[in-house]
Amino acid sequence: MRYAETGFQLEVDLSKGSIEKVETDPGDTALYIGGLGIGAKLLFDRVPPGTDPWSPDNLLIFGNGLLNGTCVPGANRLSVDTIAPVNGFLGHSLMGGFFGAEMKMAGYDRIVIRGEAPDLVYLAIHNDKVEIRDARHLRGRLMDETQTLIKEELNDRRAWVAAIGPAGENRVIMASIDCGNSSAARTVGPVMGAKKLKAIAIRGTKDVYVAHPAEAWEMCSRLRKELDANPNIGDWMATDEDDSFHHNNFAWGNARVRRKNFWSDELEERWRNLKYDHMSRWTGCWNCPKACHNLIQWPGRRRFSYKCYGKDTYHMAAFQELDFTYEILPIGMDLGLDSYSTPQVIAFALELLDAGILTGKDFPDMPSDIRQRFYYLLHKIAYRDGIGDILAHGVSGAAAIIGNGAEQFDHNTVKKFEQLPIKLGKLNPAYFLMIATGEEMAITQTEGSFPQDPIPDPELREEFIKNWIAVPDKKFEEWFRQWEKRDQLPDQAMVEISDWNECMHYLDDSMGLCGFVSSFRGQFGGTTGYHVWNMPDLITLVAGIEMDKDRLWECFQRIRNLARAINSRRGLRRHMERPPEDHWAVRDEEYEQQLLTKYYDFKGWTFDGIPTKETLEKLSLGYVAEDLIKNGVLTGNEVTALKDARAKKKKE
């Protein structure tokens, strides 16, 4: 008997047309939990290092978090994992909503897609009945119509359909996979397109079992009330109309211009009306007492919802106002384009035009109005038409193809991946580490547990510490107590703060918890719904796996190192771990490199950022060490970063 998980995964090879329901090893759950953890394990085991991300040999894994689909409130995350075409490293994106829970009830913890269909297909799953169906009639269909048509075809409006739009079919790097208004938007969509898989429709009517029913229900009911009552969690942007934070502090256009005094009371009032005049309701994800999405109906558009900074990306890239996002976002979503990276790609292209690196000839018949230009380029990209064929590679990829100085305009990517458009003054050491080294590629997937800013008033600071349940160790309290200036804490603190922040994300992404009730939300106010003290109980009570804080922390380390090993084996090295050069105006290369060395050392990694044999063996990852040695990534005799001669030389 398996609890919380079904104990089965669906393995589909689209080249062969084979479908297998495979029983999984419960031992893997105890070691890697689920979601990202098991996704990483499968990618390491089954995708050899030389595999081209576009090739049929790449895997696309839709992996449920362990607790998704159970009674745990806020557990609704599906981890979509692959080798990302954008940079050849681990591609990881999370989808909320209902698709994962439905998959559990259909009897599967995950769906592993391999191969490439001869022509466009979709997968129809109803419990044990699984079919690969012809999807040629859906070619070019937009996101919403694809989902509606498939549900009609299956005569099942209770089915959930995760699909790609035209952008995904056309293997655009910024393509997303959407199910309703939920989205796995980052890096994974183009792989689904490469596999010629238009959609997966799923419906399930099976039980998901709970190991200790009464205690689990009691705990989850209590947590539901706590999450509901806790104002620090969920998405503030769904309800708080003061969005001066993003507009005054983030960079507009191609991550270029800060408008420090943009926000005003007049604007806030105007935008508030704009929003509520067009908003039908707040909506939420499976089993969560927070409703973080604003469901909007804009004239002439289909209803759509957004979350968090997705509310701002288009109009900030175009130097427009909220109404522009409301009119373009549903179009972008229907084309199947990620709303984080796509606006940056468009702004980048328009900057190249201004700079004369691209010319009018590259944009035939482009309107002069900025809004119309965005629509023009959105469609060019989704359909890979003309310049869109190049821009479909993302900012870094396009810059490399265009050349002629275009690379200088690719100033906001890390490992070729578009970052949040933030340009600040003074270096923030913990953020330097997280942006440089995050395997999940985006700072929002890395930051979140330790507060972003110190509390100046000592009394309030003590009060904060007193209520800081989530803190995993007293040392963080001490560091917080002595913290006066944002960038000033001992290096050791910066390293361990990054570590704790990462830990929470890796656990969420493997357990299926939403970051907005957990890993992302400790940084504002400290009181998250989930933390390393209550997570183990949930695993024990719901999944029946004996867990405590130390064991759970070790699971994080294991998954983190496995993710790193995938990337190390695919060529990730120290010199690539650099935040954008203009992320902070004031930089100190020597200090940053020392800090990076300390971080690597703390992680048990080599000077090059590769987990040592010893580190891997301690985490029951001996097979990973052996593989890295076999592939020449390690010799097996490496020492951790600080013991490396190169670190000593730098010090002198």
């Binding site: 409006r157 539901r224 007492p289 209803r303």
Partner: protein, 183 residues
């Protein structure tokens, strides 16, 4: 019972405010957990006696509770337009019926019906209401005076005739006698 042949009855109601539903399906989860055997031992939305009829693209979020089983499909489907949104009749229909797989035990296909979470000791509120933190579901009890039901002699006669036809008069008589003794 009072002297006028009327008696007081507690009517239990779950009120639905569809404008407050966010579509989180916590009601389905709570219902299926409560009705699992043993209690809370599994989650399965298909076993829930409440479900949210949901279409994000059309702003349709309607929690409906399982009502009576019906043998026949509807002979025509009405469509309703409410606040500019079109709903089909299925959206509001609580029936377990042959035209759809809603409100049916997934293993047996037998119809499900909301029992207001009858329990010993009784719950303060049905589980779905407890789980709905958004106020889309609220519980109400009110007293109603109802006519004391008249005994329908004709119906009883028909029932006995049918039993007698199937099992023979003697068997029915014997059973009746046995039951009377027990009572």
């Amino acid at each position: 019972m009072d002297n006028n042949g009327k008696r007081k009855k507690i009517v239990k109601e779950i009120k639905v405010d569809i404008s407050k539903c966010v579509g989180c399906r916590a009601c389905e989860i709570a219902c299926s957990a409560f009705h699992a055997v043993p209690k809370y031992s599994s989650i399965n939305a298909a076993r829930s006696r409440i479900m949210v009829v949901m279409d994000e693209f059309r702003d349709i979020f309607v929690p409906i509770r399982a009502g009576e089983y019906t043998q026949a499909e509807c002979n025509g489907r009405n469509r309703y337009v409410i606040d500019g949104k079109e709903y089909d009749a299925c959206t509001f229909c609580p029936a377990s019926c042959p035209s759809r797989d809603w409100f049916k035990e997934p293993d047996s296909g037998l119809p499900l019906k909301c029992d207001m979470c009858e329990d010993e000791p009784p719950l303060e509120e049905p589980m779905c209401v407890q789980a709905c933190t958004f106020g889309a579901l609220t519980y109400e009890e009110r007293e109603e005076e109802v006519e004391e039901e008249e005994v329908k002699w004709d119906d009883i006669k028909i029932a006995f005739e049918s039993l007698a036809k199937r099992h023979g008069v003697k068997k029915v008589m014997d059973t009746f006698t046995r039951l009377s003794k027990k009572g």
